[in-house]
Subunit: 379 residues, 4 copies
Amino acid sequence: MKQLRYGMVGGGPGAFIGDVHRKTIRIDNLALLSAGCFSRDAEKSRSFGKELGLPSERVYTDFAMMAKEEAKRKDGIQFVVCVTPNVSHYEVCKAFLAEGISVVCDKPLTWTIEQSEALVALAKKKDLLFGVTYTYSGYPAVKQMRHMVESGALGAIKFVNGEYPQGWLAAPIDEESKLAPWRMDPKVAGISNCLGDIGSHIENLVATVTGLKIESVCARLDRIVEGRTLDDNASVMVEYKGGAKGLYWSSQIAQGNDNALRIRIYGEKGGLEWSQEDPDHFTFTPNAGPQQKWSRGRDEFCEEAQKYSRIPAGHPEGLFEAFANIYKSFILALGKKLSGEALQSSDIDFPTVEMGLDGVVFINKCVESNDKGSVWVTL
Amino acid sequence: MKQLRYGMVGGGPGAFIGDVHRKTIRIDNLALLSAGCFSRDAEKSRSFGKELGLPSERVYTDFAMMAKEEAKRKDGIQFVVCVTPNVSHYEVCKAFLAEGISVVCDKPLTWTIEQSEALVALAKKKDLLFGVTYTYSGYPAVKQMRHMVESGALGAIKFVNGEYPQGWLAAPIDEESKLAPWRMDPKVAGISNCLGDIGSHIENLVATVTGLKIESVCARLDRIVEGRTLDDNASVMVEYKGGAKGLYWSSQIAQGNDNALRIRIYGEKGGLEWSQEDPDHFTFTPNAGPQQKWSRGRDEFCEEAQKYSRIPAGHPEGLFEAFANIYKSFILALGKKLSGEALQSSDIDFPTVEMGLDGVVFINKCVESNDKGSVWVTL
Amino acid sequence: MKQLRYGMVGGGPGAFIGDVHRKTIRIDNLALLSAGCFSRDAEKSRSFGKELGLPSERVYTDFAMMAKEEAKRKDGIQFVVCVTPNVSHYEVCKAFLAEGISVVCDKPLTWTIEQSEALVALAKKKDLLFGVTYTYSGYPAVKQMRHMVESGALGAIKFVNGEYPQGWLAAPIDEESKLAPWRMDPKVAGISNCLGDIGSHIENLVATVTGLKIESVCARLDRIVEGRTLDDNASVMVEYKGGAKGLYWSSQIAQGNDNALRIRIYGEKGGLEWSQEDPDHFTFTPNAGPQQKWSRGRDEFCEEAQKYSRIPAGHPEGLFEAFANIYKSFILALGKKLSGEALQSSDIDFPTVEMGLDGVVFINKCVESNDKGSVWVTL
Amino acid sequence: MKQLRYGMVGGGPGAFIGDVHRKTIRIDNLALLSAGCFSRDAEKSRSFGKELGLPSERVYTDFAMMAKEEAKRKDGIQFVVCVTPNVSHYEVCKAFLAEGISVVCDKPLTWTIEQSEALVALAKKKDLLFGVTYTYSGYPAVKQMRHMVESGALGAIKFVNGEYPQGWLAAPIDEESKLAPWRMDPKVAGISNCLGDIGSHIENLVATVTGLKIESVCARLDRIVEGRTLDDNASVMVEYKGGAKGLYWSSQIAQGNDNALRIRIYGEKGGLEWSQEDPDHFTFTPNAGPQQKWSRGRDEFCEEAQKYSRIPAGHPEGLFEAFANIYKSFILALGKKLSGEALQSSDIDFPTVEMGLDGVVFINKCVESNDKGSVWVTL
């Protein structure tokens, strides 16, 4: 396949996550950065674009103009990566979709449910691909677990325990006020900090592996460290359509945890457990027989998980590789589509805009539950 | 100290837990089995008592008569161990307390809150010692963690995550009907199976380590395997007096877990984590600096934890030793009391009847919450 | 079976290991302490025996007299437990064997090969049982691994890695001179400290699980901390009869390890790994398929391992229980023998005097190898 | 810094390791692939070079010509990456050094000691940079451990245990004869398979972290699976200059291990332990106090380790990132050098050609020791 061309909105000098997107796309090199709008500050955007090797005419300071101009070019970008602050995801994505350009956007997709619904509808109407970078879904072990659930190795799923404890906000931050602007100020961060930022990864990961749809939630969002205006700890009881149950916990005050996303999935025939900090392994325990430790790259892995392994078992793959897998799947699907081939459902092996919408609904409904006194709210 | 004399009610031939009580008392040998009422079947009780080396006149078939007769003897028992099915704990304990005999009883203490309150009142009125065998509180690591909380190493406790997953009831049991009589029949097992049997250990363990008192709960009790009449999985959101929060999960359908009781405690200054399946170790992570792995028997352990270590670090101590520690503390306190010495609060280093009551309140209020639709209920 | 009667030589007030023997025998209560020679100091022995509840006429100050007197009594002891310093094992064991009394002795059995050979011959001639308390062989997981090797699950064993690192002697001991008398003084500790004390456990554990016999060794014994007169670290390359190879490492200066005995066994069809600090579990990895984590008490365990489990999976059993298992097997075999029944080879499920001899040969040959410049020495 | 230009020799279509080099260089994008000689087959080399986006005049079929041509160009490559089979490393590296082009070469550097010595001398004479891709030295945790040793946190190092077990060759390979050509055929693989391929990583990793130099070795190289012509398992006793001791074990028949490189380092003041399969963490246990678990990205890491972290603690970095770190350091140093700045010793933060030579000496001396009957051989 020929390398595709992509553009980026956001991700200017010093922006952590924009750099990660560029680095991880380069690993497989299936797409080339060809245009960008890295900052609203014209000088910043221009000099950064130059540093990245872009011709000056393809470095923009206005994302709307970028969408328009790139759509006109014969060698225009084939997809855009949106890594702006959450608050502007909606406008950016809408602008590119409107011009017929496919999109990859950071999560959470938007602030409001309505905005996400609009993006889902627009992407569908325009027949464009739209990926949302729920990073952790890219790990081969996650794909293997999904395969085991789909193929019936666990029977019907009955209970899920998802947790995502971090400890980095356990103590008051010296510059809590500085941290605030985008973490703790509702005008920037939206309606939730902890649940919105990391709790939503649990929601997506469980949905990815099990396919379960949430029916209702009972949520408690805590502001543990005094003075915080948004949650730094969150507990959610979940009911899924069809009767399965779940329990989610996310936290930024759980000292002793770096980034300890973990899911445990229990079905009629056995249980699965996976921890993001040891991403190459998971355990599967059937109802009869000893616990099994599965290891990425060993022969047991199915083809659809194995194809994302770049190195043999025991040679650790990390977050960058998971990220690169999302792009690999997205770009290969887009390339196929652009070449006129029909996409199979198995080609869409990345988190979609519909999943992005599900995440936004989850966050909003949990906040609603909490605000009403931690009562049950139907999605 | 001279060996004390104890009696046992329940724990006849084939009874698992009665045998554990006798074995673990023998480890330190601070008390000698001197009387028993092992079964309502006279022949069974007699032959079993003989096997245990008891003189026939001290083997009873009626616990009330045993209480009366032993109270009269000069060499009568100084405490009784009650290991009957939960349903009869109340009557047995009451009978011995009434005769002035101290008691050790299995958990949960009773079915109803009123019964437990009555036992608390009676023990107090009679000035007797009353221990409840919440096994896991006996581990030296638990005592060390309690010390660290008490001494302020964690600052104020803010959030607690307690879980107790097991997998042995994940599949329908062949003789589900056989299992029922004491597991799943409300007439025998009481109002809860999973939460009552193992969830209550979380409640006690958290209380032991942190001293936190529960103010309200929001609980969901699930019957995951079809046809069960009582819960086999339970989630509880907890609010403590003073503002701390908690989240408890217990399960018997979590395949891949044998007996994985675990608590994680987060305070202003750091976090603790302990797993019952690796009882000699826990981690402490201060807000600054790397995570610390503490190991029973090493010099870091405080005196009040160290005194329960029987063998050096790295030589595993297990459940029997934890059990023996409860008896060690109970018997030493009782011996001191019987010898006329005044007890210090530090002498009462075992789960008390008041803790037994707290456990019964917790179970009852969780069931109430669940029955009302998983709403918040104040304790 | 009726409780047997046993005596003890050594294990007086303050003696750690003697107390462990008594405690662990009491767990199953299959034998009753009936006589003892706890100290050469008559007063000490007498008062300690009284404390243990022995009649004064059965408390001795001379082990030879004890052997003679007990052999004469109708209710004399049926076996003796020798827990004296290593230097006197030989004389004590010989005295009791000579009087027809079975023996359990601590390891290492004796100092010299000749002494051990003499005990093997005498036990055989007198047709007596003789157990050596290599503690770690008592764990149910060890018995399960032995079963898996015997039943061919691993195919022929090809390579073994055994290690036993401890860290407690990493720093010079303040009272290194005090420690010396029995640790570091060749007149008391014998020819080796680290290899003799803990390295010998590797040798026994590997022999127990695999049945392999050592043909030759190349050993290096290090005195890492300056001023030590005996080894505190030891490496041994091993060749087994039949062509398998091994590598053993024991250390007391490996800071970060409490008591980390571990064996890894590799056969044609798969590998086993077990760590003493997590004694209830081991892993088995067949050549095809994922790694399996076996857990004591689960249904996969074979009958001959399962019978030593006292509590369900996930309820930790520790060193005391392993110790008790050695006594359980020894006492049941002795009871059967004394009742006139013929013993099956499966009844001898404890480390024998022949294994004790193997251990002494191993230690002596390793020291010889080291003294010659770490060259190969045939056993 | 401006992107450098590099060329590659080897790494054609289907070549695993060449692809890894290119991918990991792209992560930081500090150098651009500008020329290559990917295969001796002209058509293969040309079409592969085209696929990689190279102009046809810079795709070669003869490495010697490539060295000459590139040296002449104004925009010629500034360093070459040699990823050919080991047998040709020497000739390739020599050719480029001779033309004044810096080199990065896979390990082991060469077959013979003489060849490696010649490369060391030539690099020095030409004043060129020469890196050897001992991958595992690139992990930030390795750099942090090195820092702790250098800064005295462990005191003098006394004993090192290094091991590298894999299990993928545990069973005879169906196409053992196919595997042979480069694994097991001495004409291709050289004098050792297991020790040469993976054992040498232990040697380099220990040297990197501790700075210790090997004085003598006693090695045993086993051919465990029948019919193999080269070793698949190796044990080495090591003596370092200055008196410290070591024990190394590498294996490809240790079923249950994927790629379990691990080092344990013991000094006067404490111990370190690191496992490659969990590369972001290591433990440090000081002589006093509990064991510490260090985690990449947390504040405890020193600046010289921290600078290689790309993502926060708990977000796993893997082998690709370690590899990228070697290139990052090499390219930054080369850029500095080419710009005329003087290099500090801290700039040379990658495995050098001298370390490559040490590795070749180690392999050759171990083979010599083994061939003489596993006797001690001085380096």
